[in-house]
Symmetry: C2
Subunit: 306 residues, 2 copies
């Protein structure tokens, strides 16, 4: 049975040359497959999604991170997305024939090696966290890169690996294991960031919104619109349609039209099924009832197909 | 490249023993994979969905049909779904690495062999049709089994294979090649078949509804509700959400609630993407942006994965 681990590293750059050199490290690694790669100037952030087996994702994540530490200087970095370092966050996700424990082990190896080789302080988060508060990425990133030096020396913020002081140009890194989540961005027909922030606040877990939802507002200059960027960490418990319907309600309150939306990264099939099932009142739709998946499953289960 | 042809034969039975014996013929055939099998008393109809390569689907479809001709007696058959024979309809669908022409060829071989071995008259329909009017299943099935003897002797209705008279117990068979379609049933909160028929009529292509849509109304005694059974032959041109929204409009007119719905057979991924994209205003979602499909595609394209 082929094991599949996904890795979604986020690097603090949108410089095309730096992006290329980081991706080259992935290309060089056997048994890895690029799924997606996005970078935007307004977030000044590179999000790569790739998969492989436990061994190959670890190797690729490390080599990409070594390159990012070498090339990115956080002292010069500006962007609308919270970040604490050049290799900002490196989560590992169980996709097939691996369990969460496997991904936690990969994250620990990744963090330990990065800290040893680059002297970058590393925190473990989410399923790999060593203390309850560290499950929460926001808690770890509090103060961001700019206030890292003052935060990192607090005893409760001692890194899991590496020194208790920032790497001068690379800051710190967060790694861990988590479920597949849904990243979803909604563009609003307003340039007013204040309104967008109010809408984001209404959805955000810690501000009274849905548990499992993080929502932030950003201004997108080239379109002169605002965007609600969301990540839904458990879209089975908090389905996307419900979040979207509440976003519609809040946007209507400010007479703001919804221009469009997009998945940020890959769309998990289960999220699509939940959307279709809600709007069309479908009773019995599961992943194995989707033609393309059923065909694939039947071939994998069968004893050979010519 | 592995070729995948789907076959969705419909047999006029819901007798469990007969169903089992027909399915046994499929199980015996190498390189075939069962996807789905449903049978209902109110339709008195067995719908099987399976796939394989060109050779294996032909072999399995023939052996299942031989068994159905042997066991089903149309003289005793009653059911709410239109039908013209024991082996009512046998379409072949291109899924992967085959084209429509391949499926037309399989359908022709199937029809020719069934006619020769069983003396069942066979019509070719849809993409395999030999005349424009024969593309239309309804045209071929006009009069159903009960009036087949009087219809089949008309010159314009001469079967494509076999004798121009019904098989006494098996009637006639329709085979052909077609695109993957979406089968979708919606349950209405009314036992009034007249209302359900009005709603079905509003959606049905030939009655002024959407092109690509066939809709029929049926009463479902065990639930004491009515059901709109639809097949959408080209759900890219006539997406499911649009049909469903119109069904909602018509149902509201009669104050009939929509209780729930279900895909009849497998749900094509593209249909789900279209639904999600409409309701959540997603701009850029394609099949290769769905995580499970992207992983599969990457592995297939790559040069091996351990």
């Amino acid at each position: 049975m082929r094991e599949i681990v996904e890795c979604v590293p986020n690097f603090s750059t949108s410089d095309p040359k730096t992006v290329e050199l980081i991706l080259n490290e992935l290309k060089k690694t056997k048994n890895t497959f690029l799924l997606d790669c996005t970078f935007d100037d307004y977030y000044n952030r590179l999000v790569v999604s790739f998969f492989g087996n436990k061994k190959s994702v670890l190797e690729a994540a490390l080599n990409m991170s070594f390159k990012a530490v070498e090339l990115i200087d956080m002292r010069l970095h500006k962007g609308q997305h919270p970040r604490v370092g050049a290799v900002d966050i490196v989560p590992f996700l169980p996709i097939k024939n691996v369990i969460m424990e496997d991904c936690i082990e990969v994250a620990r190896k990744f963090g330990k090696t990065l800290a040893e080789k680059c002297r970058v302080p590393v925190y473990l988060y989410d399923e790999a966290a060593t203390k309850p508060e560290r499950r929460d990425l926001d808690w770890i990133r509090e103060g961001e890169y700019e206030r890292l030096a003052e935060m990192i020396v607090k005893p409760e913020r001692k890194p899991d690996f590496g020194p208790a002081k920032p790497h001068p140009t690379a800051g710190a890194t967060v790694t861990g294991a988590r479920k597949v989540m849904a990243g979803f961005n909604v563009n609003l027909g307003t340039a007013d960031l204040k309104i967008a922030k109010k809408i984001a606040k209404a959805l955000h877990a810690k501000k009274g919104g849905f548990s499992n939802v993080k929502a932030m507002a950003a201004f997108i200059p080239e379109k002169n619109v605002t965007q609600i960027g969301m990540s839904i960490s458990d879209f089975e418990k908090t389905p996307l349609y419900r979040v979207f319907e509440m976003l519609k309600v809040e946007a209507a309150r400010y007479n703001v039209p919804i221009l469009g939306s997009e998945f940020c990264g890959m769309a998990p099939l289960k999220a699509l099924i939940d959307i279709a099932s809600y709007y069309l009142k479908i009773d019995n739709l599961t992943e194995d009832r989707v033609l393309e998946i059923a065909v694939q499953n039947a071939i994998e289960k069968g004893d050979g197909f010519e």
